[in-house]
Symmetry: C2
Subunit: 230 residues, 2 copies
């Protein structure tokens, strides 16, 4: 059984806010004590705000400039919407530059090194609790072929990224067909179910999934050269 707990009541995060302290306060409010193997899932927005990864965006032209600075490639463009590659290798709308749920005139960027951001949060939470934890940082991305966005992992510390079942056989001894499961993205999607979008729940705790490991977010980035889904 897996349980997913939302951490409500986390206040507005500013540059320099101690995010791990706010996460622990959120756990206290929820009556939740972090255990070994809990995975703490954090939306990138509060991580970026705590790190000061924001930009002043007063006009649409400013917004376009910030997107251009954050993108390494433009994949497609339609009107104001651009599908971009970020320097992390992520393919997403508007280089993930986000003006919703931000103070007026402020856009939130992705962390520069999201795995490192996740690692910092994990270390602080582990020091405070003594528990062996995983941390995922997430964002909401659209995707090819299917409508709607889903949350995906954009930063990983202490969690498996892709569970490799190649060579694993089924109950009949035949090799499994679906052999590399993007569990970090499945965890991100699961956590989003308690986070909502309009409500301010930026952190969730997933308990009972197992899946602690040494994943890196680059494990989730597919080389376009070998991408048959394009």
């Amino acid at each position: 059984m897996i349980s997913i707990y939302p951490l409500a009541g986390i206040p507005e995060i500013a540059h320099g806010t101690d995010l791990s302290a706010e996460i622990l306060a959120g756990c206290d409010r929820a009556g939740l004590q972090l255990h070994d193997e809990d995975i703490v899932v954090v939306t990138h927005k509060v991580v970026s705000k705590a790190e000061g990864r924001t930009a002043q965006v007063l006009t649409d032209a400013d917004y376009r400039d910030v997107i251009s600075a954050e993108a390494t490639d433009i994949i497609r463009r339609r009107g104001d919407l651009v599908i971009t590659r970020t320097r992390h290798g992520f393919i997403c709308a508007n280089a993930a530059v986000d003006r919703s749920n931000t103070p007026e005139g402020v856009a939130v960027l992705l962390p520069v090194d999201p795995d490192s951001s996740a690692h910092g949060i994990r270390r602080a939470l582990e020091r405070s609790t003594g528990a062996r934890l995983g941390v995922l940082i997430t964002d909401t991305f659209g995707r090819a072929w299917r409508r709607g966005q889903t949350d995906v992992a954009i930063g990983i510390s202490g969690v498996v990224a892709v569970l490799d079942l190649r060579g694993t056989t089924d109950s009949e001894g035949r090799e499994l067909m679906a052999t590399e499961v993007a569990v970090a993205d499945e965890l991100a999607a699961a956590a989003d179910l308690v986070m909502g979008k309009a409500t301010a729940i930026p952190v969730a705790v997933v308990r009972g999934a197992g899946l602690l490991g040494e994943g890196r977010v680059r494990d989730l980035v597919r080389d376009p050269q070998e991408d048959l889904f394009l």
Copy 2:
């Protein structure tokens, strides 16, 4: 809080097996009574087996023939792997024809009308329990741009497919950027975390997500003409 319960011990399903009876027996074994708003997530494989949606596949040539019959389009081909469009509009490997976790010489196809399959299971479970339920049928698909497969919804009854937040404003009154959340796919991904791949857990119950509604799986199929992620 969301809880996800695996239903273990479900026996091999054959053509004509009463799948909803097996699901209820699995709930009993898990000490789980279905409640209003529970969402029952079922891997397509047991649904297709119960419906007799299987094909005899003795050779690789047979396998290719079945894939050709199931696919309406070939998107890409590399060696034995083809990325296909199914008649439902899904883009997936090998037209979702699956030879793992099946008896020797048998391949499992997708249900002909997965929403209808989900509806039949839901009606039977609701009649037996008196609870108002949702049912999702899932499969494991690869995707563009990101490595690894995730479980997605391929059949829906009584559950929201895409949660439309367009027009919803954030805490600052600004319109939300990520506005159409593919919650059926997020539920499928969440359920996969307890199902595993090598273990025979074909059903999970998601409790506490809300999200009952009138989604159809075609709500998740994006028109390639408007797909900027390609």
